[in-house]
């Protein structure tokens, strides 16, 4: 093997975009082997394993950081367009280098720690926040055969690690010894534990139907097409649609996005748990929030939107890993859209929504999924399952949420 052969493989790899990342990884491994042969030693297998692992890790971190950087400028752009503004457009073409400028600014900013703060915990909190957020993407299947580790308990692991961010937010709020921070931290805990339940429940439903906790297995279970064109994604079943919506709302709440941004609640709590953070520690929180948001929406894509599967059979020429990121980008856009549209919930309304609507609905979705399965997963099952989620939906709406809010029930008098 020589270097020229390796170079010659590059155009070959590019011809099949479907397997491009995998072949690219193989190429790097072969390059290491070639380097070894250059100095005249056979590279031991453990080194190759290690290189393999490092390539995977670096790739995941790099992809998610690039996405974070792009998202931070796209979000501001989309938000600006939604608000009749231009958004960042000074730094580079279309403001694309804005994240770089932000990064430099964050790096050079003075890191102010309040005198009363618990300095050690104050320092640890952003790191505790970022570590789980960075690890989460490792479990997602990005394309056919493209999963860093195919854990058989993937879903469980995802939620177990993901819960770490709650601890981090509380650490941040408690250690700042700031009144807004502590209120924000209390809100964050209340909110995140409440929405953890529908989140886990809706994932469990999918696992029950797919018969596996492995994300790859779940995506494979959604492969193929009904009637030759209709994708078998879980979101297109009644229970799956309900679970998907529940998961989406819970994901919004878990990543503290508007309208569930109560912990940061700018108009009430200044900046909530982030009030006393400046400089790069603040940037770490920001980064963790975005990477975590991508990870949890990546899980949504995996669980309900068919992961890397193409939506229509004739679209399979687009590589599977592209489909994953297209769906993720669509979800990310929808998050910004929601943020630009919705005012914030109040805490009691938010808790009521979680416990009195989301949780019962997730149980209903579970029963509905069972009915769907035992009725043969066909049109009959579809119908029964739809009825089973519709009944609790309307019942909860009419009997439990008695305070109907409407602009029509108000009367205004006029005097001449």
């Amino acid at each position: 093997m020589n270097f020229i052969d390796l170079l010659k493989r590059i155009p070959e790899i590019c011809k099949t975009p479907e397997t491009l990342p995998l072949e690219g990884k193989k190429l790097i491994l072969d390059f290491v082997t070639w380097l070894g042969s250059l100095v005249g030693i056979a590279v031991p297998p453990w080194v190759l394993t290690l290189v393999n692992i490092l390539v995977v890790i670096v790739a995941i971190i790099a992809v998610f950081l690039i996405m974070f950087a792009l998202m931070s400028v796209w979000e501001r752009k989309i938000l600006a367009r939604a608000q009749n503004r231009y958004g960042p457009n000074r730094v580079g073409p279309w403001g694309l280098f804005q994240p770089v400028a932000d990064g430099i600014k964050m790096l050079t900013k003075e890191d102010i720690v309040p005198r009363n703060a618990d300095k050690v915990v104050h320092f640890i909190a952003p790191i505790v926040m970022l570590v789980p957020a960075l690890i989460l993407p490792v479990l997602l299947p990005y394309g056919r055969g493209m999963v860093a580790i195919d854990l058989s308990v993937g879903i469980l692991f995802f939620f177990a690690v993901g819960a770490g961010s709650e601890v981090a937010i509380f650490l941040a709020g408690w250690s700042s010894r700031n009144k807004y921070s502590i209120l924000g931290a209390m809100r964050a805990i209340a909110q995140m534990i409440s929405y953890e339940l529908p989140l886990v429940m809706s994932a469990v439903i999918v696992a029950l139907v797919a018969g596996t906790l492995s994300p790859t297995g779940i995506v494979e279970a959604q492969g193929g097409y009904q009637f030759g064109f209709f994708p078998n994604w879980f979101v297109f079943t009644p229970w799956g649609f309900v679970a998907c919506v529940l998961f989406y709302f819970s994901a919004l709440a878990e990543s503290n996005r508007s309208p569930f941004d109560l912990p940061e609640g700018e108009s009430e709590l200044v900046a909530g748990h982030l009030t006393e953070y400046s400089g790069f520690k603040y940037a770490l929180f920001f980064m963790a929030e975005y990477v975590g948001m991508f990870a949890i929406n990546g899980l949504l894509v995996t669980l309900f939107l068919g992961g890397y599967q193409a939506p229509l059979p004739f679209l399979t020429f687009i590589p599977s890993w592209c489909w994953f990121f297209i769906k993720l980008a669509f979800l990310a856009f929808s998050l910004v859209w929601v943020r630009a549209t919705m005012p914030r919930f109040r805490i009691d309304q938010m808790m009521q929504f979680a416990w009195k609507f989301m949780l019962p609905m997730s149980f209903a979705a579970l029963f509905s999924a069972a009915a769907w399965h035992y009725a043969g997963r066909g049109l009959l099952g579809w119908g029964i399952s739809a009825v089973l989620v519709a009944i609790p939906y309307f019942a909860l709406g009419y009997f439990c949420f008695t305070r109907h809010h409407s602009a029509d029930n108000r009367r205004y008098l006029f005097s001449e």
């Binding site: 709590l269 602009a407 006029f414």
Partner: protein, 373 residues
């Protein structure tokens, strides 16, 4: 001190303001909270005190006119009007018809832009990231452009004079204003559809900060906040100052008195203002814009006192003036609607959540320049 209740939980004393994102200026509320619930609230103001009333006693009568712009800086022209009206009452000055119509036109346009900005501000208080605010400000800017064409300044207009207005309408201004007002209802319809159709907005506003009509009267509230509680009291109708008796308009009032009624009242008032403007555009006569009998220099009203008031966008704006026959006011006092409307803030807020406090404060629609003077 933190106090423990029966269950052993402690309350938290938090100061919201003066440096806080949603206190509409440098306002401060000392809030005692039990968890998220407000158990005590004490408004603190005076951070923007400029000694306006005392300073006015050292200036000529007309010299205070530009300073009234700075009271409620969102709507300076109605402040001018209130002061001019009080001095005219004190000195018994007649105002020419054309000037009265110009006053009504600019005054109602001021009301429209104030209420438009309010729609944006209250959404900001609810945490909507300024989406509604930017659209509200787009419309407000167009009215400010018209003001700039008329007075030379977008906000600090200094437009009224005793016995009239400072300058006549420029050529073509009336057409521009009429054309703009014609496009306004479309914007308002769209805004109303988006806002009142939003479930989160409804649940955040309805049933929050309810104020009974009796308490509202006893607290001396005025303006949309009073009318939202169901009290039919509009100084444009009660006093009939200016040419308002010649114009047909209705005074809306609410039935519940919560934040949503205050919010809706603003929308309804804008619609009425548009009616008034359309009539005023049609009726405005030719003629002088300033009473020639009024001296600009060395203006000395006779000895006496007068209280002149107008229905400002935020409520009853009154000026109490005492003259000793000299070139300067002997006593000059303002009844700012924002300050008086704030007095019942604690009553509305206690027992609600901390997030509601911001919405209630937003629904009162205060401007600190006027509260602190």
């Amino acid at each position: 001190m933190t106090e423990a209740d029966g269950a052993g939980a402690q309350t938290l004393d938090v100061s919201l303001g003066p440096q806080h994102p949603s206190t509409h200026g440098v306002f401060r509320m000392n809030v005692r909270m039990d968890g998220e619930t407000v158990v005590k609230l004490q408004p603190v103001f005076g951070y923007l005190h400029r000694n306006h009333e005392k300073l006015a006693e050292g200036k000529s009568w007309l010299g205070s006119m530009p300073f009234t712009d700075r009271l409620d800086y969102i709507c300076p022209i109605t402040n001018n009007w209130g002061y001019a009206l009080a001095v005219e009452k004190l000195a018994g000055i007649e105002v020419p018809d054309r000037a009265e119509y110009i006053r009504v036109i600019v005054g109602e346009m001021t009301r429209i832009q104030n209420h438009t900005a309010f729609l944006g501000f209250i959404l900001g208080d609810m945490g909507a990231w300024g989406s509604a605010l930017m659209y509200a400000f787009r419309e407000r800017e167009k009215i400010l452009d018209l003001f700039e064409g008329l007075t030379g300044a977008r906000m600090m207009a200094n437009y009224m004079r005793f016995g009239g207005v400072r300058c006549d309408l420029p050529a073509g201004w009336l057409e521009k204003a009429r054309a703009y007002i014609e496009t306004y209802p479309a914007f308002l319809d769209e805004m109303e559809k988006f806002l009142t159709g939003n479930e989160i907005l409804l649940s955040r506003l309805q049933g929050v900060g309810v104020m009974s009509a009796e308490r509202a009267i006893n607290g001396g509230l005025s303006g949309p906040v009073l009318r939202a509680s169901g009290v039919d009291y509009d100084i444009r109708k009660v006093d009939g100052y200016g040419v308002y008796p010649r114009l047909k308009f209705r005074v809306p009032r609410g039935t519940v008195g919560d934040c949503f009624d205050r919010f809706m009242l603003r929308i309804l008032e804008i619609r009425e203002s548009i009616q008034i403007l359309q009539q005023a555009f049609a009726q405005i006569p030719q003629g002088p814009i300033l009473n020639p009998a009024v001296k600009t220099r060395g203006f000395k009203p006779p000895v006496g006192e007068a209280y002149g008031r107008i229905e400002g966008p935020k409520g009853e704006l009154g000026f109490h003036l005492v003259s000793d026959g000299g070139e300067k006011p002997y006593r000059y006092h303002i009844r700012p609607p924002s300050l008086i409307n704030l007095t019942l803030l604690e009553e509305m807020c206690v027992g609600t959540k901390i997030a509601d406090v911001m919405v209630i404060l937003g629904s009162i629609d205060i401007v600190l320049g006027e509260v602190d003077r």
